[in-house]
C-alpha cells in the first residue's frame, strides 16, 4: 500500500488542479514570450538578464515593482470581493481614474499641506476611495434598479471615467496647470510633498511607500471578510441564488450595490495610491491598464486573497522587467501584454477542464 501514501487524497488532488492551471498557463505564456524574443532576432539571455535586472536588480527596481503590485493587488482584491457575489467588475480602470482625479483635486487644495496628523496624506486617499466606491456603486444601483448587466455598465463607466481624466487635464478650469505658453502640457500641477505617500524604508534608494502596508492590511481584512464573516457568506448566497437569499431576508439589492461599491472603493484607492505614491500629477491615461491587469490578477487568484497577492507581485515584476527589457535589450515592452493576454485566455479557456477535474477527480 505504498502507493496510497504517495498519492494525494482526492480533495487535495482536486485543489492541486485549481492551483496548477494558473501556474501552467503562466509558465506556458512565459515560454511563448521567450520564443517570441528569439523569433524577433534578439538575444534571449540578454533579454532575460535585462528583465531580471529591471525586476529585481536594484533596491529601486524591487521597490518600483512592489509599488506596481500594490495597485494591481488592490484592484484584484476588489474584484474577488464582488466576484463572491457573482459580480464581474470590469471597471477597475475607470475606478482607478476617478480615484486619481479626486485624490489630485484634494491634493492640490492648497491648505491641505498644513493639516496635522498626516491628514494631508489620508484625506486624498479617502477621497479617492470614496470616488471609486461611488463609481462602482453606480453600476450596482443600475443592476438592482434596471437589471443592467454589470459587465456592460462597469465597462462603459470605465470609458467615461478615462475621458473624465482627459477632460480634467484639458481644461484649466478643472485640474489643468495654468497655461503659460502653447507648450504647456495637458497635465495637472504636481501635488505638494506633504500629500505624497511617505516612503517605507527611509532610504532615497527605494521608492517603496506605505501603500504596501495599506494593501497588506486590506488583504488581511478581505481574507477575513470572505472566509469568516457573515457578510462574506451573504455575498456568496446572493451570488449563488439571489432569490433564495432575498427569501432568507437578506437585503439583496443593498448587498449587490455594496459589493460593487467595495470593488470600486479598492480601485479608487489604488488610483489615489498610484497618484500620491509615484506619479504626483494627473495626466490622461495615467491608469495605463492597471485596472485590466488587476482584473486579470483577481481572475487568476480563483477568489483567494493569497492568490491575488501572488498574482499582483508576478504582474508587478513582469511590468518592471518588461520596461527594462525594452530599454536595455530592445525587446518591446508590449511583450508583457502578449504574455498577459495569453494567460487570461488560457485560464478562461481551461475553466471547464478544471471544473470537470475538480468535480470528477478523474
Amino acid at each position: 500500500m505504498t502507493t496510497t501514501t504517495i498519492m494525494l487524497s482526492l480533495p487535495d488532488r482536486r485543489r492541486m488542479v485549481g492551483v496548477a492551471v494558473p501556474f501552467i498557463a503562466v509558465a506556458g505564456s512565459l515560454a511563448i514570450g521567450l520564443l517570441l524574443v528569439a523569433a524577433s532576432g534578439k538575444s534571449v539571455p540578454e533579454a532575460i538578464e535585462a528583465f531580471l535586472d529591471g525586476a529585481f536588480g536594484t533596491a529601486y527596481a524591487i521597490g518600483a515593482s512592489i509599488n506596481r503590485a500594490v495597485a494591481l493587488a488592490l484592484v484584484g482584491l476588489g474584484f474577488i470581493l464582488a466576484f463572491r457575489a457573482n459580480l464581474t467588475n470590469v471597471g477597475g480602470e475607470g475606478q482607478i481614474a476617478v480615484g486619481g482625479i479626486v485624490a489630485t483635486a484634494i491634493g492640490l487644495w492648497t491648505p491641505i499641506s498644513d493639516l496635522p496628523l498626516g491628514l494631508a496624506v489620508v484625506l486624498p486617499l479617502l477621497g479617492g476611495t470614496l470616488a471609486g466606491a461611488l463609481w462602482g456603486g453606480i453600476a450596482g444601483v443600475m443592476k438592482v434598479r434596471f437589471g443592467t448587466n454589470e459587465v456592460i455598465s462597469t465597462l462603459l463607466l470605465g470609458f467615461i471615467a478615462l475621458l473624465l481624466v482627459y477632460w480634467c487635464v484639458q481644461s484649466t478650469t478643472l485640474l489643468r496647470q495654468p497655461q503659460t505658453s502653447s507648450a504647456t502640457l495637458p497635465e495637472s500641477l504636481p501635488i505638494a510633498d506633504a500629500v505624497k505617500l511617505p516612503g517605507l524604508t527611509g532610504s532615497p534608494e527605494s521608492p517603496l511607500h506605505i501603500g504596501l502596508v495599506i494593501c497588506l492590511l486590506l488583504a488581511g481584512v478581505t481574507a477575513v471578510v470572505l472566509q469568516r464573516s457573515t457578510f462574506g457568506l451573504r455575498l456568496r448566497a446572493i451570488g449563488l441564488n439571489e432569490l433564495a437569499a432575498r427569501r432568507a431576508g437578506m437585503p439583496g439589492g443593498i448587498l449587490l450595490v455594496v459589493a460593487l461599491a467595495l470593488a470600486g472603493a479598492f480601485g479608487g484607492l489604488a488610483g489615489a495610491i498610484m497618484l500620491q505614491g509615484e506619479q504626483y500629477y494627473l495626466k490622461a491615461g495615467f491608469s495605463s491598464g492597471y485596472g485590466f491587469d488587476g482584473l486579470v490578477v483577481g481572475l487568476l487568484s480563483r477568489g483567494s486573497t493569497v492568490g491575488v497577492l501572488a498574482g499582483a507581485l508576478f504582474f508587478g515584476f513582469l511590468r518592471s522587467g518588461g520596461i527594462s527589457m525594452e530599454i536595455m535589450a530592445g525587446v518591446p515592452a508590449a511583450l508583457t501584454l502578449v504574455i498577459q493576454g495569453l494567460i487570461v485566455i488560457a485560464v478562461a479557456g481551461s475553466v471547464i477542464l478544471v471544473e470537470r477535474l475538480e468535480r470528477g477527480g478523474r
Binding site: F146, S171, V296, L337, A348
Partner: protein, 306 residues
C-alpha cells in the same frame, strides 16, 4: 455653411463607417448569443495585418484580404473558446484585447522598426461618376473609399440574412432559446460559431477601413476603443440592425463634431463629445431610452441536456 455641413456629413460617414461595419457583424454574433468583447482586438489585429499586407504586396485589396483573414483567425479562436469550451466570453474577450494590443505593437516595432511612419498603399476614393460632382451630395456622400460602398451593401445583406433567411432564423433562435433550437434540429454550436465568424469578418473590414482606407498607415493601438464603441452601438441600437447603424452614425457624428465645432467657433469640451457615445449607451442599458431587451441567451454557453 452648406459646404461645412457637407464635410460634416462626409466625416460622420467616414468616422461612423468602422463602427457600422464592426457593429453590424457583432449584431449577428450577439443575436446568436455570443458577445465578443474581443471586437476591439479583432479590429486592431485586422488594422495591423491589413497595413502589413498592403505594404508587403503593394496592393491595398490584398491588404483588405489579409485584414479579414487575420480577424477571422481571432474570431475562430474566440468561437472555439466561448462556444465549444464554454469559457466566459467576457474574460476571453478582455484577454484577446490585451493580446492583440501587445502582439500588434510588438510586431509593428519588430517589422516596421522604431517609429517609422511610412505610408502604405491605401484604397482609392471612389468618386462615383456624375454623382461626386453634385454640389452638396457629392461632397457628402459620393467621395468615399470603395470599402464604404461595399460595406453598406454588406449591411443590407446582413439585414436580409437576419430577417429573411433560414440562417437568420437559426441565429435568432440559438440566441434566444438554444434548447428549443436544438430540439428543432438546429446545430446550436455550429450556428454560433458561424455567427462569431461573421462578426470576425466584419471587424476585419472595419480594421482594414481604419488602416488602409482612412489613415493609410498603422499606429500603435490605432483603433483606440472603436471596438468598444461598436459594442456600445449594438446595445444602444437595441440589437436591431437599423437602430444599431443609426447609433453608429450618431457616434460618428459626435466624434466628427469635435473637429467641426471649433471651426464654427463653438466651444464644447472635446472630452464631452468623446464621452457622449458611452454616456448614451449607458443610459440605453439603464433603460432610460426605452426598454431594450438583449437576446435571452446572450453570453450563456449552451450544453445539451439539463
Amino acid at each position: 455653411m452648406e459646404e461645412t455641413l457637407a464635410i460634416f456629413i462626409a466625416s460622420t460617414l467616414r468616422l461612423g463607417m468602422p463602427l457600422m461595419l464592426a457593429a453590424s457583424g457583432e449584431l449577428v454574433s450577439e443575436r446568436a448569443g455570443v458577445l465578443n468583447l474581443s471586437l476591439e482586438g479583432m479590429m486592431l489585429t485586422a488594422a495591423f495585418f491589413g497595413a502589413l499586407g498592403s505594404w508587403a504586396t503593394g496592393n491595398p485589396y490584398l491588404g483588405v484580404g489579409c485584414a479579414v483573414l487575420a480577424s477571422l483567425c481571432v474570431a475562430a479562436v474566440q468561437a472555439w473558446l466561448s462556444v465549444d469550451l464554454r469559457a466566459n466570453q467576457l474574460v476571453v474577450g478582455i484577454g484577446f484585447n490585451i493580446l492583440a494590443l501587445g502582439a500588434t505593437t510588438l510586431l509593428y516595432r519588430v517589422i516596421f522598426g522604431g517609429l517609422s511612419r511610412e505610408e502604405i498603399p491605401g484604397l482609392p476614393k471612389l468618386a462615383v461618376d456624375g454623382l461626386s460632382n453634385l454640389p452638396f451630395a457629392g461632397t457628402a456622400f459620393f467621395q468615399q473609399s470603395v470599402i464604404v460602398y461595399f460595406g453598406l451593401a454588406l449591411m443590407v445583406l446582413i439585414w436580409v440574412i437576419l430577417n429573411h433567411t433560414s440562417f437568420g432564423l437559426a441565429v435568432r433562435a440559438v440566441g434566444d432559446e438554444p434548447l428549443s433550437a436544438d430540439k428543432a434540429g438546429i446545430p446550436v454550436a455550429r450556428t454560433r460559431r458561424l455567427a462569431v465568424l461573421v462578426a470576425g469578418a466584419m471587424a476585419g473590414l472595419a480594421g482594414a477601413f481604419i488602416s488602409i482606407a482612412d489613415i493609410h498607415t498603422f499606429t500603435e493601438n490605432m483603433t483606440n476603443g472603436a471596438g468598444y464603441l461598436a459594442l456600445a452601438a449594438v446595445i444602444f441600437g437595441g440589437w436591431n440592425i437599423g437602430r444599431t447603424i443609426a447609433a453608429c452614425l450618431l457616434f460618428g457624428a459626435a466624434t466628427a463634431l469635435q473637429f467641426q465645432l471649433p471651426a464654427m467657433g463653438i466651444v464644447v469640451p472635446t472630452a464631452f463629445l468623446l464621452m457622449l457615445p458611452y454616456l448614451l449607451a449607458l443610459l440605453a442599458v439603464a433603460g432610460v431610452v426605452g426598454r431594450l431587451e438583449p437576446p435571452t441567451a446572450l453570453t450563456l454557453p449552451f450544453r445539451r441536456g439539463k
